[in-house]
């Protein structure tokens, strides 16, 4: 779905840009063509008009035959210059005007014989005919080069329908853009979430813990911080292998996680180290709660762990540090807990020079003392 979007969006944008620019150039060229055609027709109209004017002057006796013939020649040259002009071919294809233009040119050429034999007697009738043709030509030009022309109209209709298409694609591009942003944000959130959990055990990780501590510090909360180190974990790893070690860690993590409730949090710091936070509710005996939790943790961690064909008994060194706003910095908190844990660990090592983990298969009757197995 995402891949489709990432592919479709730039495609749509490119398509939209291409359509818009082609549409613009199309419209521009049609407009230019109209202007050009109008200019040509205006010039032609001018000369044609001047020619009729000379005929009228001739009729009134104010112009001679030469004047009329001269203006006729000029009109012919104007027709010719339009016909030969290379730009005109394009105009004809836009407006479909080739045949009509040539037809009118032929009509004008046809005046030549009558003009040669021009006399004050036949000029009136000739002038009427020529005026009539002029009107026809100008009407044709008006109809063709302005909007009512069918060829032009169909082009403009296409133009209008294309514009609708472009608006639609612009809108969908926008829509896709919004969807992409939404998806990206969601993904970023997911990644963020993933980064906060330990992949092996599934509980929170150190990164999460640091954030949490900062939040609590900012929130001005009182809390107890327990740093837990498993005793003899290294030996288990060395003797039973990492698979067993992993299993052990998962078990411990699960147990700790099961303890959590509102205001109590658990995280895996790394290796065989875990952390527990207990936020103190208002007006509670902090020392009592801390002590209670300490015992609970100690007890929970001492419960034997059932591996495939073995049973292990672990214990943990737990260091406690209590935080009240302004009492210490976070790093001091961690250090205090660390020292406390270390002290406990040293004490443990002194008391148990040899690894405590039971590597033997349990005796058949040994199981009777245990009601709970994990």
């Amino acid at each position: 779905m995402k891949k489709l979007l990432f592919f479709a969006a730039p495609l749509l944008i490119v398509f939209t840009f291409v359509s818009v620019s082609s549409l613009e150039s199309n419209a521009e060229s049609v407009s230019k063509d109209q202007n050009l055609a109008s200019w040509f027709m205006m010039q032609l109209g001018d000369e044609y008009n001047e020619f009729i004017y000379q005929l009228q002057r001739y009729e009134a006796g104010r112009a001679d035959h030469n004047d009329v013939l001269l203006q006729y020649e000029i009109l012919l040259s104007r027709f010719n210059s339009i016909q030969v002009n290379s730009q005109v071919n394009r105009l004809h294809s836009t407006f479909g005007s080739l045949q009509s233009f040539n037809h009118h040119y032929q009509i004008v050429k046809g005046y030549e014989v009558s003009l040669q034999q021009l006399t004050p007697q036949n000029v009136a009738e000739l002038t009427l005919t020529i005026k009539d043709n002029y009107d026809q030509l100008m009407n044709y030009a008006l109809k063709t080069f302005l909007f009512t022309n069918n060829v032009l109209r169909s082009k403009l209709d296409k133009f209008i329908s294309l514009r609708w298409l472009i608006h639609a694609s612009l809108f969908s591009t926008l829509l896709i853009g919004v969807m992409m942003i939404y998806l990206l944000m969601k993904e970023s959130k997911t990644h963020h979430q993933l980064a906060m959990y330990d992949s092996l055990t599934g509980i929170h990780n150190r990164l999460w813990l640091n954030r949490k501590l900062k939040d609590l510090e900012k929130g001005g909360k009182d809390f107890a911080f327990f740093l837990i180190d498993l005793n003899g974990f290294k030996e288990v790893n060395d003797t039973l292998g990492h698979g067993a070690g992993d299993q052990l860690l998962k078990t411990v993590a699960r147990r700790l996680d099961n303890l959590t409730h509102d205001g109590m949090y658990v995280a895996r710091m790394g290796g065989d180290e875990f952390a527990v936070i207990q936020v103190f509710p208002q007006s509670v005996n902090q020392a009592y709660v801390s002590n209670f939790l300490m015992n609970t943790l100690d007890h929970v961690l001492k419960i034997p762990i059932q591996l495939r064909h073995r049973e292990l008994s672990l214990s943990a060194s737990i260091g406690l540090s209590v935080y009240t706003p302004g009492s210490k910095s976070l790093s001091e908190l961690l250090q205090e807990a660390d020292f406390a844990m270390y002290e406990m660990k040293q004490q443990f090592k002194a008391e148990h020079p040899y690894p405590i983990t039971n590597l033997e298969h349990p005796a058949p009757d040994a199981s009777q003392g245990f009601t709970k197995r994990q």
């Binding site: 000369e47 040259s77 010719n80 040669q116 021009l118």
Partner: protein
């Protein structure tokens, strides 16, 4: 033989003359347009006004120069011959200045003296060895060698190639 007997000699003469005239009228048009002449105006070195009327024969009597070029108003290449404009203007000892060209339909254009010296246009009266009628853009057309100087089109010289020239006025 029989014809002579039926018609009297007087009528016979009148008939022949009439037929002759009709024949002539068919061959030669009743009225032909005389090519309108060109008026050349300017000032002499002593600032005296100069005005000359020139027919196309007058122009043709000068040493002729040819220009072969393509142009927007003619299909393919064409050869134009006439007098070199600078030759014409200096012949009448006109003081150099801006050259104003006017056509039969009142269209006007201007040409710099320096541009004339650079591009050497020809005041043409013949197109492919034929006199140019007014309908062929004659009798006088100022032709630049567009093929030799292709940049002239971009520089706007197309409108300086005035056809159906009526007047040339050099204003110092």
């Amino acid at each position: 033989m029989i014809f002579r007997k039926l018609v009297s000699p007087l009528y016979h003469h009148v008939l022949i003359t009439g037929l002759l005239f009709a024949g002539l009228a068919a061959v030669f048009p009743v009225f032909a347009l005389t090519p309108p002449p060109l008026t050349l105006k300017g000032q002499s070195a002593e600032n005296a006004p100069i005005e000359v009327r020139l027919t196309r024969d007058d122009i043709a009597s000068f040493p002729q120069q040819s220009v072969t070029t393509s142009m927007p108003w003619v299909n393919g290449k064409a050869t134009f011959s006439g007098v070199n404009l600078q030759t014409l203007l200096t012949h009448y000892q006109l003081k150099p200045g801006t050259i104003h060209l006017t056509a039969l339909n009142q269209f006007t254009a201007e040409l710099n003296w320096q541009d004339m010296e650079t591009y050497q246009p020809v005041l043409a009266v013949r197109h492919n060895d034929e006199w140019m009628r007014v309908r062929d853009y004659g009798p006088f057309w100022l032709v630049f060698a567009l093929d030799t100087y292709p940049n002239l089109i971009d520089k706007g010289f197309l409108e300086k190639m005035v056809w159906q020239i009526n007047e040339i006025n050099v204003v110092p």
